[in-house]
Amino acid sequence: MTSRYLLKVENLGHSYGAAQIFTRVSFSLAAGEVLQVTGRNGSGKTTLLRLLAGTKPRESGHVTWDEDATRAVLGHKNGIKAELSAIENLSLYAPDRRSCMEALELLGLERAHHKKPCYMLSAGQQRKTALARVMLAKANVWLLDEPFTALDARAHETVTELLARHAKNGGAAVVATHDRLDLDAFTLREMVMS
């Protein structure tokens, strides 16, 4: 596992009107590392992830990505088209139906739900579909904002395993969550947003 960094952040800051949300956030993320971001609500966890992903314009500080690092993002919203079925949503990322179905089943979505339009799925099932999409995207860096919301215990466990395997395969992730991530010490780092 080469230890070149996939993502480098130098004194990233963000303000909203006069309020300083956070300033001088710096860290670098090497392959095989998972950074857990915790902090009370409104401390800017979501803003930080959106600044990293580039879905929010940066005002100060630098975020440099390794040139062939690809990103997969999971925000508060699932980014799923309600009128399409789970498989159709994933078909955007996977060449064939079989790999879509495998990913969905791995996340615990029973085969019976694969073909129904997503508006018929529960919040937990839609979250699993979104997580399956993140997996299928085969990106180096995962940026997950509260990935465990609406997930049952078994799915919670599966996602943790997936994170560990992703890190072992040379991937990296930034995860904003309060749940305890039981990954091995080497992989897991923590940052608390004050």
Partner: protein
Amino acid sequence: MLRKFAAPKIFYPLAGKLMPWFFWTFAVLGAVGLYWGLMLAPVDAVQGQAYRIMYVHVPSAWMSMMIYTSMAVSAAAVLVWRTKVAEYWLLCSPGLGASFTFITLVTGSLWGKPMWGTYWVWDARLTSELVLLFIYFAILAMKGAIPDRRKAARVMAMITVVGFVNIPIIKFSVDWWTTLHQGDSIFRKGGPSIAPSMLVPLFMMALSFSSYYFWLVLKHIRTLIERSAA
């Protein structure tokens, strides 16, 4: 060098020093220009007294375009360098721009009545001015719809720049369409031939209005700086 002045901390005292100058230029030139235009300038052979409306109509029309141009410049600064002062400049200019455009349209139509016999003719210049007013309204509506000031400035900058690129095309298409359907507007052909004695008060009024604009813009920006620093 310009970037240095763009920092609010430096801009604030500078604006404070400039404001009185702009105010007095506006007040003095305005009074003299007004008196000269209203009282001293000779009666126009063709239009009698009505042409005196020119002393507010023409400077306002000129201001409506000058303000938009200044907005386009600050919009470029907002989009490219994210200059804070340029954002403030962009936030407080459309209100003034829309006001002058509105004045232009109403005084233009008041001038039209004695000249053409009707308050409104789809004449190229008046129509373009009307479209400009709608662009100002669009920018102001966007400003009102976005609470976060920095984002509002960026959205307004985007519309301003796209609008700026389109204004010549709008002007051209309106010219073409209105001349295609030529009304009987004397105004269109040449308008009143402006005798030199009338030109001087006209430029005075234009300079006065410009100083008025800079005076108020600087005042607005200082208020915005005070409020964001608080």
